[in-house]
């Protein structure tokens, strides 16, 4: 039987505010345990929450970015459950009147097609603390760090509009791109700044009724999400084809072991007994304020992609890669301003630089190679001072703090020889010293001679200590060999 997969996402986005949603304690990541958990975050008796204006503005900005209705009056509610990292015994969240209503996110697929994913709503809520099950404390207990408790989140809930892992990953990446472009989230997935819950069901192709779904919670990388979806879809199809039944349940995926397990089934699911929080009044946002935020929205990824295509003549693919991340976009623009060569700059930013940053898992903001330094390197590639191969060495030097491109080229004597007289002499010498290779070339079938050129190139590059301009050498070589025929 052919099966159709149906996927919906719930995405938790930590807002990049300085303070918590209901208290003035810091939200900075990585502080010593419990140093950023004040009496409000700890739910001390007699404390009252006061809403952070910036969190409201950030949520509204997200709503505007996805063309959603803004909840001009939004209401906080209590979602009641007991867990040690939730000191109040309830999570303050929104249910009936969320701050962001239905909206649309456009995604681009690998084949160039676009697809609209509907957003059901997005609401504001507080993050919980962290439970540690092992550490520098005695065994048999759990340790609680409440620094994260009260960090503002928006939870974005999609409609079940995705049909495979590719859709889901494209959607997740697009959300990442939107919230980082807006500057409302730092996008640091490894620090839990964005977490994905994936609802998955399958149904026979052509069936309109949805199958029973499972929810795989707390995925914090695009790769894990993709793997978890493949695994769960396969599990459901296997189960159904063996005559089994899907149980509605919450599942956990472990990215390291690549194994998922059931966490709790619907029967034991909590009844959260939501009710409006009496400690918080409705949040009312004026039309004027919404308009002010709309006017000041930063450039969004789609607009930036189009601008990169128009302004820098980039391909759709390059423009998409470079515009997805606001900081990468501005790095590219900065470097292009200095290098004057958009195409080559795009290749280096999306290629060598990104690969190196990924390999060392550091963000672009911490790149040891500045946009100006990269531009300096690109200028020397474009004016043929150095070859592509030398450029990699120079890049390595800049990365390691040895100075700017010109300094490294000078210091390492990396200049490419482009003087045609000198190159001709080199080619002549190699041809003269390798009569056997020349004879072999002459005796080779004309169609297959091209393959023999590599041998000469190798000799010439070796003779020049790698400094000959390869394009020029190959031209000169071809001319000389043609004359000898």
């Amino acid at each position: 039987m052919n099966w159709e997969t149906v996927i919906g996402l719930e995405v938790h986005v930590q807002l990049a505010t300085k303070t918590k949603i209901f208290s003035a304690a810091s939200t900075a990541f990585g502080a010593a345990p419990n140093t950023q958990a004040c009496e409000i975050d700890l739910a001390m008796p007699g404390t009252l929450p006061v809403v952070n204006k910036q969190a409201i503005d950030y949520a509204v900005m997200f709503g505007l970015a996805i063309d959603a209705e803004i909840g001009k009056t939004s209401v906080f509610e209590r979602k009641n459950y007991f867990y040690p990292d939730l000191p109040k015994g309830y999570q303050t969240t929104q249910l009936e009147k969320p701050i962001v209503g239905p909206g649309i996110v456009e995604i681009q697929l690998g084949n160039g097609d676009t697809k609209s994913i509907r957003i059901h709503h997005a609401h504001l809520e507080e993050d919980a603390g962290k439970s540690l099950h092992e550490g520098n404390f005695r065994s048999g207990v759990s340790g609680i760090d409440l620094n994260r408790a009260g960090t503002p989140l928006i939870e974005i809930v999609s409609e079940p509009d995705m049909r495979n892992a590719e859709d889901a990953v494209a959607f997740a990446k697009k959300l990442h791109s939107i919230v980082t472009s807006l500057g409302i989230c730092d996008g640091e997935m490894s620090q839990g700044s964005m977490r994905f819950d994936v609802n998955i069901s399958v149904r026979p192709q052509g069936e309109t009724k949805l199958g029973t779904r499972t929810e795989t919670k707390n995925l914090n990388s695009f790769k894990f999400m993709e793997d978890a979806i493949h695994l769960e879809v396969a599990r459901q199809i296997d189960l159904l084809e063996d005559g089994g039944e899907i149980i509605q349940e919450t599942r956990l995926y472990n990215g390291d072991t690549k194994v998922a397990r059931s966490m709790r089934s619907k029967e034991e699911a909590n009844d959260y007994r939501y009710f409006p929080c009496p400690d918080l009044l409705p949040v009312v946002i004026s039309d004027e304020h919404v308009e002010k935020l709309r006017k000041n929205l930063p450039e969004l990824p789609d607009a930036r992609q189009q601008r990169f295509m128009d302004e820098y003549d980039l391909s759709q693919y390059d423009a998409n890669v470079l515009s997805a991340d606001a900081s990468m976009g501005s790095y590219f623009e900065q470097a292009t301003k200095h290098s004057g060569n958009a195409k080559l700059t795009a290749n280096w930013v999306a290629g060598e630089l990104s690969a190196r940053l990924n390999a060392e898992t550091i963000s672009l903001d911490q790149s040891p190679v500045t946009a100006e330094q990269l531009a300096g390197l690109i200028i020397r590639i474009a004016d043929n001072t150095i070859s592509g191969k030398m450029a990699k060495q120079v890049f390595e030097g800049i990365w390691n703090g040895e100075g700017d491109a010109d300094q490294i080229i000078e210091k390492r004597g990396l200049k490419q020889v482009s003087d045609s007289g000198a190159l001709e002499a080199m080619v002549d010498e190699v041809l003269a010293n390798n009569q056997a290779m020349v004879d072999d070339y002459m005796n080779t079938d004309p169609d297959k001679r091209k393959k023999k050129l590599g041998g000469f190139m190798g000799q010439i590059m070796k003779a020049s200590k790698g400094q000959a301009n390869p394009q020029q050498v190959s031209q000169i070589l071809a001319q000389k060999l043609a004359k000898m025929l």
Binding site: T17, K18, T19, S23, A24, A25, S26, A32, P33, N34, T35, Q36, A37, C38, E39, L42, V50, V51, N52, K53, Q54, A55, I56, T73, V75, N80, F82, Y83, P84, K97, S131, L132, H133, G135, N136, F137, R138, G140, V141, S142, G143, I144, D145, L146, L252, M263, N270, D271, R273, P276, P278, L280, L281, P282, V283, V284
Partner: protein
């Protein structure tokens, strides 16, 4: 109006309240009378009235996003039942 025993037990579990078996009947009656009161309220004609989101018909005051909470971990942990290595300790939690 009375509430089923199972509902009372379920609510008690969710609220982490210990309810003695012999008190279930009494609690059922008392909670039932609260629901009767709600029924009386619901009998009132509210057509043409918009609902209140909060008993105080006011809107939320917002706070500027400025840090002004110092680290008071020592004071808070001094009154906590159990701490170690700067963490609050609780009985082992397993997901």
């Amino acid at each position: 109006m009375s509430i089923e025993k199972q509902t009372i037990e379920n609510l008690a579990t969710l609220a982490r309240l210990a309810v003695d078996d012999e008190r279930v009947e009494e609690i059922s009656q008392r909670l039932g009378s609260v629901l009767e009161l709600v029924d009386q309220l619901q009998a009132a004609d509210t057509s043409g009235l918009s609902g209140l989101d909060h008993p105080l018909n006011e809107t939320q005051r917002l706070r500027e996003d400025k840090i002004n909470k110092p680290n008071m971990r020592e004071a808070f942990q001094a009154i906590a039942p159990d701490t170690e290595d700067d963490l609050y300790l609780v009985p082992k939690v397993i997901d």
